[in-house]
Symmetry: C2
């Protein structure tokens, strides 16, 4: 009998590891390949950074509550976020879409309006793509290309023991926005007459439907002459991403619950939903904030920036990965990030 | 009432024109954007070429007769073909896939074996990608990156009046391979006991399931110091591609039916199916041969290369686009290329 391994047994990262286990680099221009936010390609004077993401209707988004323009915007932003997470500047994108017959030209145009809005805001050029029919649903594949001064790109694997662990912005809101939208969808489907209750919740809905990439943080770090020792963007939830940096850097990590930045709006909604705000930040995903480590001596340079929170530090690998709760308890940090294979 | 334009009313190229009508380039490094086989990005010393394609199960391929390894190989090759069609050398690719739960890890591994086989053959590195679930079917998005000596890239829009029109290899076989596979599939579905009759038809099946990109032609042209005046790859059928070059170069064109290269195997099978071999070459698609124009004085350099056929010449725009048949008749050339929106 033929062997059959279920994909959910491996998980997304296990699957990627498995499928890329035998790659051998053939081109001297390939500085960094699979396994980080983006690849790095050397082009004599600047290095090119490449990242790609696929978004599938019914898996990554629900058109029942996602305006197409927002979807176009978000599709670009999530890729740019990967480029910034390399400490690079995005310059070009390609956008490919496949769509079923239910989409009109006007619908696709709305999607592209969002794409172009993101291009304009972040100063990138749309330089190519592909359009095709699909048998079902809407599928989007975006590739972003950026540039970086040689060897200024920042990987996930280069954090050092004692480095400070930092997070931009606030966390958990995108997940709470999704939870709210899913709840209102359910109510609508059960009782189509009921008006959705989205009052005073624009912050969390905006964080879900129209996230931004943290270009400003990269610019701030450059102004302050801070090169993070490791960096990635937070797309799967804080705990999952912290564990990536710790594992790839061969280090332990200590995270302080009370330091995790969570917006007041998020706390209130979490309470209303009976959710733990910390759990939303740790496992929620889709915040597209930056997670980075830096040398302790750079602390003075960031302390006044309200958009950057120090949430912990990198420790020896023998210490493992832990979170210290507000109550002073110490728990092992586990990745319960959003996993596209386990919905 | 809201306006609704059906996508098939515009066609793929009309749709792309429509969706990209307002693009303004923001980065000096964007040398060439949307509208050719690939984009060109300047990186101080070399220029970077980028191309992307999306392949959707049930639209572009049928897993009933497409081995996953071949599909992986073909997914890469069709993108590399676009890079070669710019007179560039592919160096890196990203591969994103979405798949339903019916796929096992072993199945995905087979697909990647084909991806890696193409990477090895063409000397490119897989540097990134994304994996995701889909609601239905298998979707593949590949982006290829290549490099070219500054300003040696070849566009579609730069053919000159009097230039020779050339084609590599032979045409129509991939379409005949598809026709054969579709016929055998139909027979199999109607009478599962009947063994498929694929004897002596390996050539056309191979051309459909495992096409190659014409790296050798690009290398030959470089050796001979020939820079084509215009070039593209033949993915939609010869007539459609010739019309692209003529329209974008603002020229007319004359094509000679008797000069169109068609393999003996293809002629025999076409006859058997009651198809006109010329029609298969003109409208069949998926041959991934190169179509290029070059100066008449370069003719001596290519005349001994059996892999290059001169099929016509570029004329003044006032002459229109015509094919001269074997019988000496002159017909207007029309694009009936394979159109993913009109299946």
């Amino acid at each position: 009998m033929e062997e059959r391994t279920e994909i959910q047994d491996l998980g997304e990262f296990g699957l990627i590891d498995y499928l890329t286990r035998n790659i051998e680099i053939q081109n001297a221009s390939t500085v960094l390949g699979v396994g980080d936010d983006a690849a790095v390609i050397d082009h004599f004077g600047k290095q090119t950074v490449v990242s790609t993401d696929m978004l599938v209707e019914g898996i990554h988004f629900d058109l029942m509550y996602t305006p197409l323009k927002h979807l176009g915007y978000k599709s670009v932003v999530v890729n740019l976020s990967d480029i910034y997470a390399m400490n690079a500047t995005p310059t070009q994108i390609t956008v490919s879409i496949a769509f079923s017959n239910r989409f009109s030209v006007e619908a696709l145009n709305e999607f592209y309006e969002g794409v172009y809005a993101a291009c304009e805001k972040y100063g990138v050029d749309l330089v190519g793509g592909d359009t095709s029919n699909s048998q079902k649903g809407f599928i989007i594949s975006v590739t972003a290309i950026g540039e970086v001064t040689p060897d200024q790109f920042v990987k996930r694997s280069t954090a050092q023991k004692g480095d400070l662990l930092c997070v931009s912005g606030d966390l958990g809101a995108a997940y709470l926005g999704l939870t709210l939208l899913e709840r209102e969808k359910k109510i609508f489907l059960e009782s189509p007459g009921v008006k959705p209750d989205l009052e005073n919740q624009t912050y969390i809905i905006g964080r879900q439907l129209k996230p931004e990439a943290r270009k400003d943080i990269i610019e701030f770090l450059q102004q302050e002459n801070i090169v993070p020792t490791a960096m990635m963007d937070i797309s799967d939830g804080l705990s999952s991403e912290i564990l990536h940096i710790a594992k790839q850097s061969n280090l332990g990590v200590v995270l302080y619950e009370e330091k995790i930045p969570i917006a007041q709006e998020s706390r209130e909604i979490a309470l209303k939903f009976g959710l733990d705000p910390t759990a939303c930040a740790l496992s929620g995903g889709e915040d597209y904030e930056l997670l980075f480590t830096m040398k302790q001596e750079d602390y003075d340079k960031i302390v006044l920036n309200e958009q950057i929170s120090v949430v912990g530090y990198m420790a020896d690998i023998s210490e493992g990965a832990h979170i210290i709760t507000k109550g002073g308890n110490k728990f092992k940090l586990v990745a319960q990030g959003w996993n596209a294979f386990k919905q």
